[in-house]
Symmetry: C2
Amino acid sequence: MPGRVDDMLDQLRSAGRRVTAQRRAVLQALARLGCAQDVEAIHARARRIHPRVGLVTVYRTLEALVGEGVAQRVVLGDDRTRYELGQEHGHHHHLVCLSCGSVQRLDECHLESKRAGRRHGFTVTAHRLELLGYCAKCGVPA
Amino acid sequence: MPGRVDDMLDQLRSAGRRVTAQRRAVLQALARLGCAQDVEAIHARARRIHPRVGLVTVYRTLEALVGEGVAQRVVLGDDRTRYELGQEHGHHHHLVCLSCGSVQRLDECHLESKRAGRRHGFTVTAHRLELLGYCAKCGVPA
DNA sequence: CTGAGTGCAAACTTTTTGCACAATA
DNA sequence: TATTGTGCAAAAAGTTTGCACTCAG
C-alpha cells in the first residue's frame, strides 16, 4: 500500500501536477481509510499525518485526484460526498449497513441489466449499485 | 393519475395528517413530473398549481410524504436530493443520461447480488442501482 | 377552537471562490 | 524564478429551525 501511494504521486507528477506534503497526506489518508470515506473523515486522517492540511486543500486535492483518475467520487445515498482510491478498474460495489452505517467492499458484480438498458435505446457505460441491509455485526433488527 | 393523488391525500388524512392546498399541490407536482425530481423542480411545479407554496413547505411536505410511505428519496449521484412518488412497491431503477441528465424509469430488475451480500454475512434488504450512459436521443459521443 | 401546517427570516452545513503568500519543479 | 498549490476568510448553495400567524378538522 505504501508503494501504491508513491506510484500515484509519480502519476500526478507526470501529469504536470506538483507533489506537496498535503497531497501526500491526503493520498495516504485515502489509502489507509478504505473505501467510501467522507471528506470530513479524510481531512481528519490527513491531519494526523500532516497537521498543516486545511479542509479547502482536501477538497481541491480530491478534485485533482479524481481528475487524474487516481480517486473517484462515491455516492451512497446519505447526503455525504464520499471518495475512495481507484477508478473503474477495481470496479466494485458496496454493502451499506442500515444500522451502523459501515461500508464494506463487494468485489463481485452480477449485473445483467446492461441489456435491459439497451432495450430502452439507452447505452449503458457504467453503473452504480448499493446493497442496503444489515452487517454481520449488527444483525437484522427485530 | 388524478385518482391516485386523491387516494394518497386520503391516506395522509387517515394517518392523522392534515390535507392542505399546499400538500395537494406538492403531491400533484410529483405525480405530473415523473420520477427522480429535485426539490427545486418540485417547488417550481407546485407553484404553478398553487402559487402560495413556500420552499420550506415543500421540504417539510416531502419529508411528511416519505414518512407516510407515499414518496421516497432518490439519490442519483449528482448532489441533488431527489424525490418521487411510490415506495418499495413499484420498485424500479433509473437510466441516467450522462449527456443530458435525463432520467428514465427502468422497471426490470435483474439483480443477483443478494446472494453475494449474504456470503459476506450481510443481510440485504434493499438495493439501489443506477445505470449510467447515453439515452437514445443523445447517443454515445465520439 | 385547538393543534398541525405555513411563511418568513435567520441559522446551519457543506462546498466553492478570491486573494495574498508559500513552495515545487 | 515561474507557477502551481495552500490557507484564510468570505461567499454560495442547499437544508433546517424558531416563531408568530393561519386554517383544516
